[in-house]
């Protein structure tokens, strides 16, 4: 019970201090909206339905990775993060509390383009349960990628640089803009090593019925990525945060 009081208060503090700040709310709304509008202006005849999986994935990815990396690095440089390391709660629970806020923020970001699209197209055929689960798993893996960056970065600018280093190649290799089948042969194995590839494929399946992998396999792969990333983060935290 005591641990959960700490968990809930870390989450509440992060939401209030970071995610509910006007710049972040506006980023969470404006960023997905701008992407949607940009795509529409670029190809007015384009099908919004085809754009939606990509927009959701990008919104989650951009909303989570840098957010967690920057907030943790910011707290570490101001040494307030030491308070969390000194609290008598397990490191696992503390890490979960830190990523929980980012996951919620990622989910919020994901649904901005969905709400926007619902004004133009009929989304009644979408399996919302599956969509939510897919978004949740994309948010978890992206947040953990952010955590991985946070463990390595010492300064906020480093965290931002590392985030982009991960995010942009991921966007181009996960089949969002270029189908994986059209990628050069040597790049394809890399695509299948990225969690976003599986997340995007599930979303494509749910929204357009155009998935290339069985959904169960993609869900399984995302789960494996989540566990693996968590374990790597945990190992690195032990090594780098408790010197």
């Amino acid at each position: 019970m005591k641990s959960w009081i700490a968990f809930w208060n870390i989450l509440k503090k992060d939401i209030r201090n970071y995610y509910l700040k006007p710049p972040n709310i506006s980023w969470g709304i404006i960023f997905p909206l701008s992407w949607s509008l940009m795509q529409l202006i670029r190809s007015p005849d384009g099908n919004i339905l085809e754009l939606l999986p990509g927009l959701i994935s990008m919104s989650v990815l951009f909303g989570t990775t840098s957010m967690l990396a920057v907030t943790i690095t910011f707290e570490r440089s101001g040494r307030s993060f030491e308070r969390l390391l000194l609290a008598p709660i397990s490191l696992n629970l503390m890490v979960l509390a830190k990523i929980a806020g980012t996951i919620l923020f990622g989910i919020f970001n994901a649904f901005v383009p969905v709400i926007f699209a619902s004004f133009f197209i009929d989304l009644s055929a979408v399996n919302w349960g599956m969509l939510l689960l897919a978004v949740l798993l994309i948010a978890i893996t992206s947040s953990l990628t952010g955590l991985l960056i946070a463990v390595s970065a010492k300064q906020v600018f480093e965290a931002q640089t590392f985030s982009n280093f991960f995010r942009f190649p991921m966007l181009f290799l996960c089949g969002l803009f270029i189908p994986i089948s059209s990628l050069p042969l040597f790049l394809r194995p890399i695509s299948f090593c990225l969690p976003l590839t599986y997340g995007t494929d599930i979303l494509k399946g749910i929204i357009m019925g155009a998935n290339i992998l069985p959904p169960l396999l993609s869900f399984g792969a995302l789960l494996v990525f989540a566990v693996l990333l968590f374990l790597i983060c945990r190992y690195n935290i032990n090594r780098k945060w408790i010197l």
């Binding site: 005591k2 870390i10 101001g78 040494r79 308070r83 969390l84 390391l85 000194l86 397990s90 010197l243």
Partner: protein, 322 residues
């Protein structure tokens, strides 16, 4: 009862040894001072005891709990005031205290009541609703100490608590430390203010280059370097005229001229005052002042560590302007 026990503690970073095989115990309700210049290994020692850093070797127990094996259990009985005030700038004083209490699993009513109590105790009640970033340096320090006390720790670690803050706040903090000791809290204090350590610590350890060079109570430390006794006398006669006769009269002692009317008698044994006063009385010499000269803790520190007090002063200045 031993509250903190450290034995053969060592910490190395690559080729650099920050803490080199140190051992000490702290009794319950004691104020233990850790005195040394910047980079001596004070913060590294604290970080290992509180579980923020892993020792390369050695054992640490706090309240009988093995810190290396049961870090989280041990952290529940410890509080830390780091060398920098590290609360959350965006939150106000009250919220910061409540958040710190929540980290220790305290329920809402309990943490709010304790936060109000501490704000009152630290005279920060009016500032409780102001964001931490708007606090002065002294107020930030006091709130950081309050945050460390929110879960009523049995052992409190204070890392340079009065560095760089105003005189009034420093005085208040020192009084609070003494009050905490009276209430049974064990205190581990690192400082490079010798006079602060001398004023409030029960026992002191001098640390330099990662090693404890001496430890003990203040009289023990002083005895360890002073191998004689000295009395300074101020008279109405020229010191030079009196000194030769004084030396002849008290054969076992040495006499040094301090200034025109002041001289110092040095002896291996304690110097009884009555015969000395009689000596002056018989010669109709007025004695205006007679006082025993004892080495200061600063003298002891310089003698034992080989570090001039000016080095510590420089550290203080740097820290003050941080």
């Amino acid at each position: 009862m031993k509250m903190v026990s450290v034995s053969n503690l060592k910490k190395t970073y690559d080729n650099f040894t920050a803490v080199d095989d140190i051992s000490f115990d702290i009794e319950k309700g004691e104020i233990f001072g850790f005195l040394g210049p910047n980079g001596a290994g004070k913060t590294s020692t604290i970080n290992m005891i509180i579980g923020l850093s892993r020792p390369t070797a050695g054992e640490i127990t706090v309240d009988g709990i093995d810190v290396r094996r049961q870090t989280k259990k041990a952290q529940a009985v410890m509080g830390l005031v780091p060398d920098e005030s590290n609360l959350y700038n965006e939150m106000d004083g009250f919220e910061n205290l409540c958040f710190c209490a929540a980290l220790y699993g305290m329920r809402k009513e309990e943490r709010e009541s304790k936060a109000h109590q501490l704000l009152e105790l630290f005279r920060l009640k009016d500032a409780g609703k102001r964001p931490f970033k708007a606090y002065s340096k002294g107020m930030r320090r006091k709130l950081t100490i309050a945050a460390a006390l929110i879960h009523s720790p049995q052992v409190l670690f204070l890392d340079e608590p009065t560095t760089g803050i105003d005189v009034e706040s420093s005085r208040q903090i020192r009084n609070m430390i003494v009050d905490l000791k009276k209430n049974g809290t064990t205190i581990f204090l690192t400082t490079h203010y010798i006079e602060e350590a001398e004023r409030i610590c029960d026992r002191i350890a001098f640390i330099t280059a990662g090693q404890i060079v001496a430890s003990g109570t203040i009289p023990q430390l002083m005895d360890s370097v002073s191998h004689g006794h000295a009395i300074q006398l101020v008279t109405d006669k020229n010191a030079r005229d009196v000194s030769i006769e004084l030396h002849k009269h008290f054969m076992g002692s040495k006499v040094e001229i301090h200034s025109d009317h002041s001289l110092v008698m040095l002896s291996e044994q304690r110097i009884p005052l009555f015969p000395v006063m009689n000596f002056f009385h018989d010669r109709k010499i007025e004695v205006y002042e007679a006082r025993e000269l004892r080495p200061s803790l600063e003298d002891v520190f310089v003698k034992l560590t080989g570090i001039e007090s000016s080095v510590l002063k420089k550290d203080k200045e740097k820290a003050g302007f941080r």
